[in-house]
């Protein structure tokens, strides 16, 4: 009988396997292969063209002794910490406010979220205009009579990152509000009833009951936001092009400059590998906690 024997493995599910070829090629060739390629070539002295001429950790030595890279890292840290703190606090507060069974909830949510639909380029250009010292906020306050008022972040090397944070928050807080709101909506109504019966004030319920319950939402949001922060590029290009001087340089821009402008590929590969490392440090513990324990079979 033909069906007596178990059919050969490769031919079972053949259509599914064929249909998955794009995914497999992307995953293996582009994501895995491309990443490995870059990591390997970061140990070479490739200049204009990639060459397998290994120089050990030279590129990394040079990277970490380049002031421009150090500024990039510092800037990314400033941007990361500030935008994480503020976007979480503001995002959560807005979500909590919207969760009070208010009227016009949809209108408010639409307003808070619309910047997220805009690109970083558009965001950056608008805020560049608002922060323009000759016409923007500074000018207006001065014209109101406060002549000595200075608010000119984009042209001040010490303040420029804060200006970028301002624009980044405007663009991205709506997303966090949305994720938090979804989390809050996922909390059982009965929890609130129980807290009211027990006479716990609202703010205490949030602090001691709701926020601990939202821990998974916080963690996931945190990972998403952090992975996004590392990619920070367009916004800086649009707002300041890295200026004044190199004051608002960020790693992603550093990589681009060295790969496509300065024709120093090895340096670009090393810098991008450092970015990968940063993301790995964020992602791997999270992935381990999130998926590691659940593995079956």
């Amino acid at each position: 009988m033909a069906s007596d024997t178990r059919p050969r493995r490769p031919f079972r599910n053949l259509s599914a396997k064929i249909a998955s070829i794009p995914m497999i090629v992307t995953a293996v060739c582009v994501f895995l292969g491309g990443t490995l390629w870059t990591v390997v070539y970061s140990f070479t002295n490739s200049k204009l063209l990639p060459r397998l001429n290994f120089v050990g950790l030279d590129q990394y030595d040079r990277l970490w002794s380049t002031p421009r890279w150090l500024v990039s890292i510092e800037n990314l840290a400033i941007y990361g910490v500030l935008s994480l703190i503020f976007s979480f606090v503001i995002g959560f507060l807005l979500a909590a406010l919207l969760d009070q069974k208010i009227r016009f909830e949809n209108t408010f949510r639409t307003i808070f979220l619309y910047p997220f639909a805009l690109s970083f380029i558009v965001t950056g250009l608008v805020w560049q205009w608002i922060l323009n010292p000759d016409f923007g906020v500074q000018n207006i306050v001065r014209s109101l009579g406060w002549e000595s008022f200075t608010f000119n972040p984009l042209y001040d090397a010490n303040l420029v990152m804060y200006g970028i944070v301002l624009a980044g928050l405007w663009q991205g807080t709506g997303l966090i509000m949305c994720l938090m709101l979804a989390g809050l909506r996922g909390i059982d109504e009965d929890i609130w009833k129980a807290a009211r019966v027990d006479g716990i004030p609202t703010w205490k319920t949030y602090l001691y009951v709701v926020i601990p319950m939202l821990r998974p939402v916080f963690v996931t949001t945190l990972v998403i936001v952090m992975a996004g922060i590392v990619k920070l590029y367009d916004l800086v290009v649009a707002m300041t092009s890295g200026g004044p001087g190199n004051a608002s340089e960020v790693p992603a821009k550093y990589v681009y400059e060295f790969m496509f402008r300065a024709q120093n590929l090895g340096q670009g590969f090393a810098a991008s590998t450092m970015m990968l490392l940063t993301v790995a440090i964020i992602i791997i513990p999270w992935a381990y906690l999130e998926f590691g324990g659940r593995r079956r079979g």
Binding site: S3, R6, P7, R12, R296, G297
Partner: protein, 388 residues
């Protein structure tokens, strides 16, 4: 080649079936022969592997080891569509975007049947199930009962020998469930197909089945007709799972009095001379299982406690009561259930339930004397939990 016991009379044969994911074994070395036209129910709590077994038979799961034969043909590695089965699911699984007619026709179109044949089969199935007026509606416009009828129809039009039901009534409310139960039984009597029916509802199992396979942990615990399952459960699990209200279990040991083996627990004794089965040697630790309807509670008469009158006229216990001689208990809770009452008693320090007529007149705290119909009770080995 493996020979079956009697291939001609066997409709579905499962041989040494094993299903494992890595180290996790779902079904272990399971064999089951199902006769032509037989209605077999796979019964068990959730996670016992009954649905998994059905999916293996349907070919929706790749098995690890073993064979599946349908109609004398080894179908172990055949596609579901080629196995000659029709299947009905718990969630109806109707294609939401197609009309009822489209749902019924889908499989036939895939099989490449001519238009006329498809229409003929749909008309016949619609007539049997009385769903003609629904044919041009979408599933969303149907009630739960109608949906399940259509789902049965989808199996029916396939014109197959074996019907597989995967908890088909679980999503329906109690009233519809009993209606459709009767309908499925009627369908079986009319078509005489082999039917394999998975459920966790013992009423469905007892009412529908020719034979019931009670499953737990991927293993068939007992395979027998409903009466045997009910009266002679093979082990503690089957005994506890079947019957509502459930059988109560008393822990104790075998004793002897006046040459008669007795069950002793906490100073009380029950004579076992009427027991249908082998009573083990004196001193053996056993578990006595009695169904509430086989326990009768009576008022404590002065002096000699005698069951059999007063409130205890219920069921077989009236005449079969043999527990005279110290089977005294106390009423703890009275649960009126309409036609009768369930009394929760404390007997020999253990919980025991008894059925009593609705007007039994007992209150919580009353002392009662008990009569046991030992001929319908079961003794289990404490160690192996098997019936003795």
């Amino acid at each position: 080649m493996n020979q079956m016991t009697n291939p001609a009379a066997t409709s579905v044969a499962v041989k040494d079936l094993r299903l494992a994911y890595g180290s996790l074994t779902i079904l272990d070395d399971l064999s089951l022969d199902i006769g032509e036209g037989e209605f077999i129910v796979l019964l068990g709590p959730s996670g016992c592997g009954k649905s998994t077994l059905l999916n293996c038979i349907a070919g929706l799961l790749d098995i690890t080891d073993g064979q599946i034969w349908i109609k004398g043909r080894n179908v172990t590695w055949e596609e579901p569509k080629d196995r000659g089965i029709g299947m009905v699911f718990q969630s109806y699984a109707l294609y939401p975007q197609m009309t009822v007619r489209g749902n019924l026709a889908f499989g036939l179109k895939n099989a490449g049947l001519p238009r006329g044949e498809i229409d003929k089969r749909i008309a016949r199935a619609a007539e049997i199930l009385q769903i003609q007026p629904l044919l041009d509606r979408k599933p969303a416009a149907l009630s739960g009962g109608q949906r399940q009828r259509v789902a049965i129809g989808r199996a029916l039009v396939r014109d197959v020998d074996v019907f597989l039901f995967d908890e088909p009534l679980s999503n329906l409310d109690a009233k519809l469930r009993s209606e459709l139960r009767v309908e499925i039984k009627r369908l079986h009597q009319q078509l005489r197909n082999t039917m394999i029916y998975v459920t966790h509802d013992q009423i469905e199992a007892l009412t529908l089945a020719d034979r019931i396979a009670v499953m737990r942990g991927g293993i068939i615990q007992q395979l027998a007709d409903p009466k045997t399952i009910y009266n002679k459960p093979a082990n503690l699990f089957v005994a506890g799972f079947i019957g509502s209200p459930a059988m109560t279990f008393l822990k104790g040991q075998i004793g002897e009095r006046d040459g008669v083996r007795t069950f002793e627990a906490g100073g009380s004794t029950i004579a076992l001379d009427q027991y249908r089965g082998e009573v083990p040697a004196r001193g053996t630790a056993v578990i006595l299982g009695v169904r509430p309807e086989h326990v009768a509670a009576g008022h404590v008469a002065a002096g000699h406690g005698a069951a059999g009158h007063g409130a205890a006229g219920h069921g077989a216990a009236g005449h079969g009561a043999t527990g005279a001689g110290g089977a005294a208990a106390k009423v703890e809770i009275d649960e009126p259930m309409g036609s009768d009452s369930l009394l929760w008693l404390r007997f020999a320090g253990q919980a025991l339930s008894a059925r009593a007529p609705a007007e039994h007149g007992f209150k919580a705290g009353d002392a009662v004397s008990l009569g046991f119909d030992i001929s319908k009770a079961s003794l289990f080995d404490t160690e192996t939990e098997q019936r003795l």
